[in-house]
């Protein structure tokens, strides 16, 4: 009897192994909790972002070394000219009557940070700038990887913004952090859900992504009375009710008002202010330490 069972199992060994592996993976899918998932993905994310950071920084270094090797003579002449200019500028500053004159460098980061810090909605936050260094290549799981992590006080569920056309706009939130990098879930992610309101009219709704940055966001559960007074182009901002996103951050503009005569609520389409295809630098809103 035992021999027969053993023979039966031996003949069907491959099918049994296959079925067992399917069952194990299905159990893991339905039992897995964010804690176990994040521990495993955190470990892989930690290792791969080391390579990302090494690649992006070494690429920059190679470019700099190449420039220096090729233009050594020109650099020497330029340095000489610059030294003469600095000397004359120093003389100018010293002789200037206004002792508070400053030389403003053309630095976009400084201008952007000023714009964020001057906005009274973000007074309780620090804006930590970070460059986008990678994007998850699989379109089924879209996220942006930035070059700043927990060493800059970045934590999970912190809001991320960008400056576009002199305006601060929402990009997404932090979902995974390592010491040197972090992963952002963008607002167009199909599982992204943001408590929002209309800036002028103040009606509240829920803004959801469609999984594609080129498709508009869906603003639902708006009071139907809003359709009498709102217009295409009105700005949508965060409501601050979810406690993840601070209130008052611009998200997008209304593009289409879906007129629903029978339904009890209003649905709108919103185009994000941020152009995700051109996004290079973002700012993570971290809490100000007392």
């Amino acid at each position: 009897m035992q021999g027969k069972v053993r023979d039966w199992l031996k003949k069907r060994q491959v099918i049994l192994q296959f079925s067992l592996l399917l069952l194990i993976s299905l159990i893991i899918v339905f039992v897995s909790r964010p804690f176990y998932r994040n521990e495993m993905t955190g470990a892989g994310f930690y290792i791969t972002t080391l390579f990302d950071r090494a690649a992006s920084e070494s690429g920059e270094k190679v470019e700099v070394i190449g420039d220096q090797l090729l233009s050594r003579k020109q650099m020497k002449k330029k340095i000489q000219l610059l030294e003469e200019k600095v000397e004359s500028l120093e003389q100018l500053i010293a002789s200037s009557a206004d002792k508070d004159n400053r030389v403003f460098l053309n630095n976009k980061n400084n201008a952007d940070l000023n714009l964020i810090n001057q906005n009274e909605d973000y007074l309780s936050f620090n804006a930590v700038s970070a460059d986008i260094m990678a994007r998850n290549p699989d379109p089924f799981s879209d996220s942006l990887i930035i070059s700043a992590g927990s060493y800059k006080n970045i934590k999970n569920n912190q809001a991320v913004v960008a400056v576009t056309d002199n305006q601060v706009a929402l990009v997404g939130r932090i979902v995974l952090v390592t010491p040197w990098s972090a992963s952002i879930r963008p607002i167009y992610h199909s599982r992204s859900s943001i408590g929002s309101r209309l800036k002028k009219e103040r009606y509240e709704g829920i803004l959801k992504g469609q999984g594609d940055p080129s498709r508009p966001l869906d603003l639902s559960y708006l009071n139907k009375n809003a359709q009498k007074i709102l217009n295409s182009g009105d700005v949508v901002i965060t409501s601050g009710l979810s406690s993840i996103y601070p209130a008052g951050i611009d998200i997008g503009r209304i593009s289409t008002i879906k007129r629903n005569i029978l339904g009890p609520v209003l649905d709108l389409e919103v185009i994000p202010l941020v152009n995700f295809d051109k996004l290079e630098t973002v700012y993570v809103l971290t809490e100000k330490s007392e």
Binding site: L21, M40, T48, F51, A134, I145
Partner: protein
């Protein structure tokens, strides 16, 4: 010994492919549609391995894929999908003489369609964080990955990392 060496080299190459696929983002204009090199290699590795162990390659490859490439996805989904796809791919060993272009293309295309179907089914279930993508995105990413399949297959053949016609020749 030769088979062990090939398997070992394939595993190494898969790990490198996972890491490499992240570097290309800032260099390419079409960064949203990068080819899934690791997926192509897993398919060929499972055909090479044959029906006895191909499902193990899919199972372990699925967890590797989750750890290195899918920070936001549910643990076990890719293991489930790749176990099935690689099991089916493993049945193909020795059945057809694989030409350098058409059959690698067809195998990878079929595997990608199956992956897309399973992910769509999983995305319908509540509380699983599987993104649904637009049909055009799916078509473009599938097309790009499929077109890379013959290239990867021939590079692997050139470096003697794979010989999918081995059993037929013997």
């Amino acid at each position: 010994m030769k088979r062990r060496t090939i398997t070992f080299q394939l595993i190494l190459f898969v790990v490198l492919a996972f890491l490499q696929s992240r570097f290309f983002y800032s260099q390419l204009p079409f960064h949203r549609y990068l080819p899934d090199l690791a997926f192509i290699l897993i398919i060929f590795a499972s055909i090479q391995t044959g029906r006895k162990n191909s499902h193990w390659i899919g199972f372990l490859g699925g967890f590797l894929l989750h750890a290195f490439m899918q920070p936001d996805s549910v643990l076990g989904v890719y293991a489930f999908i790749l176990t099935i796809i690689c099991f089916i791919a493993g049945q193909m060993k020795g059945r057809l003489i694989i030409d350098p272009i058409l059959l690698p293309l067809l195998y990878v295309f079929a595997a990608l369609i199956m992956k897309g179907m399973f992910l769509f089914i999983f995305s319908l279930l509540p509380d699983l964080e599987i993104c649904r993508i637009s049909f055009i995105d799916f078509v473009i990413s599938t097309a790009i990955t499929t077109l890379c399949a013959p290239i990867i297959y021939n590079i692997m053949r050139l470096f003697r990392l794979i010989d999918l016609n081995e059993r037929i020749r013997k």
